[in-house]
Structures are given as C-alpha cells and as structure tokens.
C-alpha cells in the first residue's frame, strides 16, 4: 500500500496541520502576513555550496550578523535540491512553511500560481531599496509577466563554455569556438583515442531543458506561444532539440556514455582530460575540487550561430539563479522583509556571491573585482547581454519534466545507435506536449 501512502502523504500532513492550527481548508493564506512573533525567523536555504555543512558554515556568521543588527534570530535549514520543491509543496498545502525561503528562479511562476508566496508589490520592493537596484533580466525570472514578483533575485548564474586548454593545444586549436559550426569542427578534431569534444548530462532533465531552451531561442522557438500554450513541435523547437542530440548522434563529439550521466559525471570527465568542453553554469569550484588548476581551463561564451552573443536569436543561455521569497502567511512579515533586505544588501551580495561563484543580481555589488575575473566576467556579461529566463508560466515544472524526459529518451536512442531524425524528435516532443495538456 506504499503508493497509496505516498499519494496521501500530503493529505495526512494537511489533515494534521488543519487539526493543529484549528483552521479550515488552508484559509490562513488569505490573511497575508502578520507580526505575531517578531523575534525569530525560519529560513530554508537551497544547497549552494559543495554540501549542506559547507552552506551552514558560510551562512552561519552572516545570520549572526543579522541578529546583531536587528535582534531577530534566524533558524537556518539548508535543503538539498532534490528535496526542495517537494518540501515547498508540502509547506504550501499545509500552510506550515518557513518565513523566508530560497527557490530556483525557474520555479517562480509555478510557485506564484499556488498563491503561497508574498507578492513583491511596490511597497514591499521599496522596503528593500526598490526595483532599480536589481539587474532587469534577473527580475524577469521572479514570476509571470505583468504580475508583482513572487520573489527577489539572490544569486544569478548563466551558462558558459568551459574548455581544456591543453587538449585544445594538442589538437592544434588556438581559440575557443564562437559558433556551433566551429564547436563541431573543433570537437571532431579532438574526438578520438578515447577523448571526446563535448560533455553532456543526458540523464539530467533540468540541464537538458536549459540547453534545449537556449538553442530554441537561437532557432526562434519559445516552446510556448503568447497565450501560454505549449508549442513543442514547432519547427524551431524540433530543430533545436535535434541539433543538441546530433552532437552525439551525427557529429559524434559527445561520448555515448554521457546519455546516462545525471550526477555531474561530465564535469569529472572534463577535469580528468577525457572531454575537452562542457557547457555549464559556474563550474570553477568543481574543477578545483577535482584537482584542476585555474590555468588549465578557459571560459568563453556559449556559441551562437553568428559568433556574437546578444538578444533575440543570439541568446546563448537560460537565466539561471536563486530567488529569495517570503511565505505569505509568515508570522513575522516585518522581520522577513528586513531579512530579505539584508540578504540583498550590497555587502552581503558581494560576499555571498563571491563565495558561491555566482553573480550578484544587485547591480551595485557587481562592481567588485571578484566579478571581473575571466570566468566571472563571461558569466556576468552573458547575464547582462544574452541570457533569457525560462518561460515564466505556471506549468514550468511540467515543462522541465516532459521536455527534459524527451531529450533524455532521444539521447538514449542516439547512444544505442538508433537513428535520430527530425520525425523521431518531433514524435518525442509531440508526446511531451500531449502530456502537458492532460
């Protein structure tokens, strides 16, 4: 009966919570926030560092700093990524969540639709210094267009092309590729004797989506139309996904084994000199942990068809990052706002983003020299110039799963040597689209 139990686990939590709180059917959200317990806050932080312990060590002193400034004690819980969304969902159904929490910025619109997060209207935004302090693209990933943001940007990230300098040199390549044609040509020169041009994480649904989305932009496809209807089978979307799979199926610059990668194994292959390039968000700390020296690898913008990243068809990255949000039914609204103000202050932004290898979405904090090193400069410029947020629609998480799975299945086809054609790509995407419309 395990399944039934799984399906009703939320129900149990809700039932118990309703009994405990003595209120009916989750009406608590309608009240908005209050200030019943101004002395404490609970904060769910996403896992940003190498592990949960590291995050506690990094955030601990900052939270104590906040306590000294405001007298508010922050109870910290760091939650690993695979658990975070389910925990937020459970908190949403039960109404028993933290006061402040981190969300992946691609979930903004989905979580906004639940109505559980505090909208950052003008008044709330002014309390933390106003809209203009933040990078405009980062603000786009805080909820659906035309609505008040459901969260505030905290750490921003973008994709870049990391390449192994020695492997490039050995293959006689003098500079990183700027266009996809160059990337394929370089990849082919490198892919022999057990070495491969490009790495991929075929089993990681979110990574699949990120790559398909950026390529989709370059083919003029959005995966959704203006009314929010999925358009997965549009010519552009099909061409984008096929281009990505073809790196393995046709160009043979991705090792077939990458089809089952899902735990960042491609980064290890890169660090150990088996793969010459990866498309990744802020990989520097991981490479260092795997024994690479900073001079061993280079960073370049993700290729675009023309070679010059920019807007429209020259978009070369999804806009990645973490937002900070407040649960609408917090019992310490004042404190929660103060905490968000603290976390998005220039000082904390500089400090935390430097530690985590991300880029501050707060413009003033970007001036720090730490964000002008060669790798962070590429990420920063991509963020400002050529990154676009994933579709900010309520069904975003379904989109990640359905199209991410389609790409995973196509990689499996390619790895097994089955032909990958426009028709077969279209069929997989059609299935994904039908699943969205249930």
């Amino acid at each position: 009966m395990r399944i039934l139990r799984a399906a009703t686990v939320t129900a149990t939590v809700t039932a118990l919570a309703v009994v405990a709180a003595g209120c009916g059917g989750g009406t608590s959200f309608d009240d908005g926030g209050s200030d019943d317990s101004p002395g404490t806050l609970t904060y769910w932080a996403s896992n940003q560092g190498p592990n949960v312990e590291a995050d506690k060590k990094i955030l601990g002193p900052e939270l104590r700093k906040f306590e000294r400034q405001t007298g508010i004690k922050v109870k910290l819980e760091v939650i690993p990524w695979p658990e975070l969304l389910n925990r937020i969902l459970a908190a949403t159904t039960s109404g028993q969540g933290p006061d402040v929490l981190n969300i992946g910025n691609t979930w903004s619109a989905s979580l906004q639709a639940t109505g559980a997060l505090l909208p950052w209207d003008r008044k709330n935004l002014d309390a933390i210094g106003g809209r203009d302090r933040f990078l405009a693209p980062a603000l786009e990933a805080t909820g659906a267009a035309g609505k008040d943001p459901a969260a505030v940007p905290l750490y921003s990230l973008a994709y870049a092309l990391y390449y192994n300098k020695r492997m490039f040199q050995e293959a006689g390549i003098s500079k990183p590729p700027a266009t996809w044609d160059e990337l394929v040509a370089d990849g082919k020169r490198i892919s022999k004797d057990g070495k491969w041009g490009l790495g991929a994480e075929g089993g990681q649904l979110t990574n699949n989506i990120h790559q398909a989305f950026a390529l989709g932009k370059q083919h003029g496809a959005d995966f959704f139309d203006r009314t929010g209807k999925p358009t997965f089978t549009s010519d552009g979307a099909v061409a984008a996904v096929k281009q990505y799979i073809d790196f393995m199926a046709k160009d043979k610059i991705i090792a077939p084994g990458n089809a089952e990668y899902g735990q960042n194994q491609s980064l290890r292959d890169f660090a150990t000199g088996r793969t010459a390039m990866v498309l990744w968000q802020a990989a520097a700390t991981t490479f260092a942990a795997d024994g690479m020296k900073p001079g061993d690898w280079g960073v370049a913008p993700v290729p675009v068809p023309s070679g010059t990243p920019g807007t429209g068809r020259q978009i070369n990255s999804m806009l990645a990052g973490i937002n900070i949000a407040v649960f609408k039914n917090t019992r310490n609204l004042q404190g929660a706002r103060k905490f968000v103000k603290f976390m998005t202050s220039d000082t904390e932004q500089r400090l935390l983003n430097k530690t985590y290898g991300s880029i501050p979405p707060v413009k003033a904090a970007q001036q720090d020299p730490a964000f002008n090193r060669k790798d962070t400069r590429v990420l920063r410029e991509t963020l400002i110039r050529s990154a676009a947020p994933l579709p900010q629609i309520a069904e975003e998480s379904q989109f990640e799963t359905s199209v991410g799975t389609a790409v995973k299945d196509l990689f499996a086809d390619a790895a097994a040597g089955h032909p990958v054609t426009t028709a077969s790509v279209k069929a997989r995407l059609a299935k994904a689209q039908q699943q969205m419309a249930q």
């Binding site: 009966m1 395990r2 399944i3 039934l4 139990r5 799984a6 399906a7 009703t8 686990v9 939320t10 129900a11 149990t12 809700t14 039932a15 118990l16 009916g24 059917g25 989750g26 009406t27 959200f29 389910n86 969902l89 949403t92 159904t93 109404g95 989905s110 979580l111 639709a113 639940t114 109505g115 559980a116 089993g203 649904l205 090792a255 077939p256 084994g257 089809a259 089952e260 899902g262 309520a394 998480s397 379904q398 799963t401 359905s402 991410g404 799975t405 995973k408 299945d409 499996a412 790895a415 097994a416 299935k431 039908q434 699943q435 249930q438």
Partner: protein, 306 residues
C-alpha cells in the same frame, strides 16, 4: 450495580481498543478517504494551497486516466503491463531462489551459519545505499557489470547500457530480486524448521529419494506459508518505489516505468495530484481485487485438500 459491571465487561475491550482504533483512523483511513476525495478534484498548482476548495472534476481525472488512446492513459497502461511482468518475474524468481537456498541449508554442514548470514545481507542493508551501489555497477563506461561481461568475458559486442533503453527492465529485475529474495529465504527456512523430521525418516525408509521427499513432504507442508509469502512478495514488488527511483531517478526509461514511479511523476513532478490520486485509487482497487481473488482461490484449494 450489576448493570454497571456488565457495561464494564462488555465496554472495556472496546475502551482498550479505542486508542488503536483512533490511530488507525488517523493514519490510514483518513488519508485514504482524503486521497479518494482528491481524485475527484482538479488539483494542480493553482489549487493546492486551498485544496479543500479546489473545483470538483467529477470523473474527469478517471476519464483521463483510463483513456488509453491519449498519452496519459496509454503510458499508464504501458506502465501497468510493465509492472505486472516485473512483479510476476520478481515473485517467481525470489520464491525459487529462496526455497532452493532454504532447502539446501537444511543439511548441517560446515559454514552453514556463515552462508545464512551472507544470504541475508541484502535484506539487512539500507535500501538506498544498496540500490545506489547497483546503479554504479550498472554504469556503462565505468561499471563492474560491463567490465566483467564485456572486458573480461567478452560476451557482448559493444558495451551495453543497463540503465537506459530495454535493458533497464533486466537491471531493475536483478536489483529487485537481489533485494527481495532473502525475505523468501528467511520465511521458507523458518517454515521448514516446523516440518517434523520423522516424516523424512519414514519416507527415506520407504525408499523415497530427495526429489520425491521435496515433492511429497516439503512443498505440501510449505503450502500455507507459500500462499502468504507469494501474496506479500507480489504486493511489495507491485508497489516498489525505492528501487526504480534510486536506480533511474524521476524519469524511468520506458521499459522500466513501474506504476509507483509513474504515479509519483503524475502527482509530484507534474503537479497534478488529482490525476495521481485517481491512478492510486484505480491501483488500490486492482490490488484489492487481485488479493481477494487470490485469497478466495487459495482458501478454496485448502478446503478441498482438507
């Protein structure tokens, strides 16, 4: 006074049962009823915060679920077939292995204790750790399985994938049998202890060989235990969530798309708790019918034996 005593005599057992009853109600029945209610509601992210007030969808969720021409129903049906095949194979193999090992270990010989301990290890290991180890073993490029099959024995032309494509069913089956058969072994071994030794002695005197002894004495004596064992194994493997989830993650390959993962994906990953609940209720009904049918058939068999 006498009335009070009688009341106490009759009422006391119920009073003592009350806490357990209340807990049972809270832990099992209430969620089950809520789950059934949910299956008639439209429960997407737009409504989960106020799920009590979510709009009714009547039989809509069920209609989507059993529409086998549309993708939701079609994949569910596929998943159902995969799960049936997987469960029957798991149960059969676990029972065969467990019974054979238990019979083999009836003889007293040196190292018997050690072997028993070794056989029971999979049962004692934490599921997550064990299955993640299997996931490593099954990796195409660095896994031990391909190292042995391909590099050493050269049984395969190319390194096969075990966690992708059709082979994933085989990989799932291997891990599941490995993890479950010690339970069958344990149960059968315990049951064997209760068969009187003199039965075998008498049979041996009459000239019955080992095969005949197993067929005529061991298996019939094991029958009542086997009936329960097979049912439990079937229900377990039919509902197994941990093994496929740890092995494949959120999106299992089509060939190994067990119902538990499928329902999890429908409710928790794509945020459609209504459809997920409808699938759960249908699954529950199916398992109830199977269980009832099985119990009915086996008890009838027992009666005619008796």
């Amino acid at each position: 006074m006498r009335g009070f005593t009688r009341l106490r005599r009759v009422g006391l057992p119920y009073l003592l049962l009350l806490p357990a009853l209340l807990l049972e109600l809270l832990v099992h029945l209430v969620p089950m009823v809520i789950g059934i209610v949910m299956s008639f509601k439209e429960l997407t992210q737009l409504h989960i915060a106020h799920w009590g007030a979510a709009p009714w969808k009547a039989l809509g969720n069920y209609r989507v679920t059993v529409d086998f021409d549309a993708p939701v129903g079609a994949t569910l049906l596929h998943s159902f077939v995969v799960t049936c095949a997987f469960s029957l194979l798991t149960v059969g193999l676990c029972w065969l292995l467990g019974t054979a090992a238990a019979i083999f270990l009836q003889e007293n010989f040196r190292g018997r204790g050690l072997l028993r301990a070794v056989f029971l290890t999979p049962y004692a290991l934490p599921v997550y750790a064990a299955v993640i180890t299997w996931a490593f073993l099954f990796q195409r490029d660095n896994g031990l399985v391909n190292h042995v099959l391909h590099d050493q024995l050269q049984l395969t032309g190319d390194r096969p994938f075990w966690l992708l494509g059709d082979n994933s069913f085989l990989a799932l089956l291997v891990v599941s049998v490995w993890k479950t058969w010690p339970f069958a072994f344990l149960v059968v071994m315990a049951a064997l202890q209760s068969i009187p030794k003199d039965l075998y002695e008498a049979a041996a005197l009459d000239g019955a060989g080992i095969v005949r002894q197993i067929r005529r004495i061991t298996l019939p004596s094991l029958r009542p235990i086997n009936q329960v064992l097979l049912l439990v194994l079937f229900l377990w493997s039919f509902n197994d969530f941990n093994t496929p989830y740890v092995l494949f993650g959120k999106a299992a390959p089509e060939a190994a798309d067990l119902l538990s993962i499928h329902i999890y994906q429908s409710s928790f990953v794509t945020w459609n708790f209504g459809t997920g609940s409808a699938m759960s209720v249908l699954l529950l009904l199916f398992l109830l019918v199977v269980t009832a049918g099985y119990l009915l058939a086996t008890s009838r068999g027992r009666k005619s034996d008796g």
